[in-house]
Symmetry: C2
Subunit: 167 residues, 2 copies
């Protein structure tokens, strides 16, 4: 019985726990909420049940924090969890998918408005993107920081080359 492969959110949650070694649902939730990508809200309603499902599937262990007064569960990856996480992480086929890009989606329909409004829109996007890239995140400790920033830069350059849109 082949295990159902992890969803992207499940994979990312396991990876986040792996990075931390030990993590509570709350800590994972905060991580996703703080990410520069707004795609996953990191809401408690998503993360707590998801990690409980991972527990039921044997991907993580739960340990009650003895010290604390308040109920609090520390999660760690099991061997099965580590394997599943790596299978997700190194899945080159899935990684090569296009995902969802709110800009790309709109650009595909830009023909529906006149050139003047297209231009105004693209100018605004450039301004907002440039501003966003400027706000320096504090600790560029890990790959993640560099990835997000360099990606924004790359998208800006891509956008600059889409001359045919402005005609």
């Amino acid at each position: 019985m082949t295990e159902k492969p992890l969803t992207d959110l499940e994979g990312a949650v396991l990876a986040e726990i792996a990075r931390r070694g030990v993590a509570t649902s709350y800590a994972v939730s905060r991580s996703f909420a703080a990410s520069p990508s707004e795609f996953w809200s990191g809401s408690a309603g998503a993360v707590y049940p998801l990690i409980k499902r991972l527990l039921a599937r044997g991907m993580v262990t739960a340990q009650a924090d003895a010290d604390g007064k308040r109920a609090r569960l520390d999660y760690r990856l099991t061997d099965a969890g580590k394997t599943a996480m790596e299978d997700w992480l190194l899945d080159a086929k899935r990684a090569s998918g296009m995902g969802f890009d709110p800009l790309r989606t709109r650009l595909a329909y830009m023909e529906l408005v006149d050139a003047a409004r297209r231009k105004s829109f693209l100018d605004d996007v450039r301004t907002i993107s440039a501003d966003f890239a400027k706000t320096s995140q504090p600790p560029p400790a890990r790959f993640g920081e560099q990835i997000h920033k360099s990606w924004l830069t790359a998208r800006s350059q891509w956008l600059a080359k889409l001359g045919f849109m402005e005609k």
Copy 2:
């Protein structure tokens, strides 16, 4: 009472109907299913109810096809629908968001595996991406085709520059 803004899928569906002038739910469904982006499946279960919601909100009109033997509804944008679609399309702030990228998400956790496996993964992604970009779509009729292809190219170039990942 300010209308709730359109979701990205709703906006894209309205834009698709606008592009066609008249469209059935089935036609919209096929469009999304055929898109090179695999993010929205274009399943009937998503599209038919979504367009019914748009109808209830006055964004589209429904007209039964008199000619056909079989029930069949042709949808057209209303003025309100056109306005809402343009508000969605030209929303530069939302367009500037990062969306979801299955590659970027994984790259942010690449530190969790050793350099050899990282390299192997990145090689595979490059191969798959190059192959995908090679398969030429038939009709480059509209912006959409050029957008998707040029985006894949841009992402490949971005990836090529991420030297620090391979160390």
